[in-house]
């Protein structure tokens, strides 16, 4: 009965109620989406690499190594010897090793030299292996495999010829016009930096750094010039036993013949995420402030209605409603509005996320789940509800006082 009364009472003040509802809807949507994106971005972040136990590179910071080897951000400070890679691969503790060589780009997309191990052992997300949406891995010197985004954005197809330049900028002065590559495969979308990478063999990286005359010679006869790689940028390791991780890390860090550094990707990712915590917290604070302001809007709306509801309260009092009932009634009105706004916000966000998930994945590499009904959301929703009860206690108390002093026909 009280709920139905509160509902009718809201219905009698449609305009201000609808405006208040919209303000609540917006603020709750903002708060929920910030929380959701925060959660999902973290997950999306953590899915870039999976099943790699150690990343080995030249000594620098662990964040630096992580950024350039996994996220293809920044430039490697220096390389490690190819012999070191071979030594790592031969270690009994190592199950597989993926060498990567960075530093070149193709029309804004990073070019990465690697070998067959990459397509076989690299995993992302929840231990998902790479797969080809088209074609296959490169087999010879001037062949390349491109990520899904590269194919989509540049319109490349299997069999196309591309030119790979030296350096990272889009318009490098020293375009390696002489070294055309044939695309042999396109990877399926992963939602990780892999989608934005052009993969070639390690030998090809060597080849594109040769002089123009030697390149011409290579194009005529692939065996005429030695293209054995001398160095790689980093090596990703999968170990035979997880327990060996720390021992191997120590051994690598103390390696005598080359200066090496090994990092645990999980630890480095966590450190990276903590750095982004400031931005994350700022967003949270802003969305909480927006919510508080719209909750004040709600209680202002209810307070403003008190004057015109004096008669209504007097009638209810006479019918035997105690001041406590009047208090509850106002609280129920506020809760109806807030709960409706929460449900609508969840609905709205789910629809928006469903519709924009492709665009977000392609544009920002963000893989957001449209499912908002998580424990985290539940927590946020209960906090919103409690905050709504606290703020609407102000008009409810006003109504309570009104009810205490209301008298018959006090006109």
């Amino acid at each position: 009965m009280l709920v139905s009364l509160a509902w009718s009472s809201l219905g009698s003040r449609k305009k201000s109620v609808v405006l208040t509802f919209l303000s609540l809807l917006i603020s709750i949507s903002v708060l929920l989406s910030v929380e959701h994106i925060r959660q999902q971005a973290k997950e999306s972040f953590n899915r870039t690499i999976s099943d790699v136990d150690l990343i080995v590179g030249a000594p620098s910071g662990q964040l630096n190594l992580l950024l350039y080897s996994v996220f293809r951000m920044g430039s490697p400070t220096s390389n490690i010897k190819y012999e070191s890679y071979e030594a790592l691969q031969e270690s009994k503790l190592v199950e597989w090793a993926i060498p990567i060589s960075l530093g070149d780009s193709h029309r804004g997309f990073r070019v990465m030299g690697t070998n067959g191990n990459y397509f076989q052992h690299f995993k992302f997300g929840n231990k998902q292996a790479l797969s080809f949406q088209n074609g296959q891995a490169f087999a010879s010197l001037f062949e390349a495999v491109i990520g899904a985004d590269v194919a989509k954005e540049l319109g490349y197809q299997v069999g196309d010829h591309v030119v790979i330049s030296h350096g990272i900028g889009n318009t490098s002065f020293t375009n390696h016009d002489n070294t055309p590559f044939t695309i042999t495969g396109i990877l399926s979308a992963t939602g990780t930096p892999v989608d934005k990478t052009v993969h070639v063999s390690l030998n090809a990286i060597e080849a594109i750094h040769l002089s123009a005359s030697k390149q011409n010679q290579l194009l005529d006869d692939a065996n005429s010039v030695n293209t054995t790689p001398e160095s790689v940028t980093a090596v990703m390791l999968g170990l035979t036993s997880k327990f060996a991780t720390f021992k191997l890390q120590r051994d690598i860090n103390n390696y005598k013949t080359d200066r090496l550094m090994a990092i645990l990707p999980g630890v480095a990712l966590t450190e990276l995420w903590q750095m982004m915590g400031t931005v994350e917290n700022l967003l949270r604070v802003i969305s909480i402030l927006v919510l508080i302001s719209s909750l004040f809007g709600l209680s202002t709306m209810l307070l403003a209605s008190m004057q015109q509801r004096k008669n209504e309260i007097a009638v209810l009092r006479v019918l035997g409603a105690g001041p406590g009932v009047i208090f509850t009634l106002v609280l129920v009105e506020a809760l109806i509005l807030v709960l409706l706004a929460i449900v609508s916000a969840i609905g709205l966000l789910s629809i928006t996320l469903t519709l924009s998930s492709d665009w977000l994945a392609a544009q920002y590499g963000l893989f957001l789940s449209p499912n908002l009904l998580t424990l985290e959301t539940l927590k946020v929703v209960s906090v919103i509800t409690i905050a709504a009860i606290v703020t609407s206690a102000i008009p409810a108390f006003e109504a309570y006082k009104n009810a205490l002093h209301s008298s018959l026909s006090a006109v």
Binding site: M1, S8, V315, L319, G320, S407, L408
Partner: protein, 251 residues
Amino acid sequence: MSEVAEHAHPNNAENDANPNQDAAIELSHVSYRYNGENSSGVDIPEWKVNYADRVFLHGHSGSGKTTLLNLLAGVLTPKSGTLSLLGKPFSALSARQKDKFRAQHIGVVFQQFNLIPYLSVLKNIELATYFAKAGKTNVSDAASKLLLGLNLPASILQQPAHSLSVGQQQRVAIARALINKPEILLVDEPTSALDAAARDAFMTILIDMCKQHKITLIFVSHDMYLKKFFETSVEMCSLKQSSLKQPAETK
């Protein structure tokens, strides 16, 4: 005794043990003053209204009619003295008990704004049964019977209260006041917003209803014309005057 027992309503049987059972309303040395105001307020040394009496209570404005009504309804609590309703020491009840008692035993009709405008007539009437915790299953039937007796078509039950004329609203207010079969009906200037024809019709129906249901009616108005509808008429000043005759008993 037996005569009173006939009068008494079944849900009021427990009050029969009270020696003052013939009085539906009994005031003794009741006084009330508004804070900070010396002039207004009421002092009533003694006043009794018997079961099923219909009392016309009149007096000029400011004489304390409405204050008395508020005391009787339990919205105000006397500063001193005792007020008994249906043999119960009403003024000694807790606020919560008063609210419950009012919901179950007292019907009230105001000058105007009796109904919650955005609710349907039926919802308005249902509210009364809800707060009385009457547990009535079919309010709609009882309400349409009452409305029929008040010369209102049952079809208005579904209409929102604000769409009715003032005269209709006042009659719906009576129906609502009577839905819980109260022993006491308090009415405050209900005709002030009605024209002459509507007023007479309203009065006739009100008196009929009270006779029919053996309801103790306290009707407050300053309009002496309405006096002709009542057998008993009390002037507010005379209630107060008696305090002058017995100064020892006033506070």
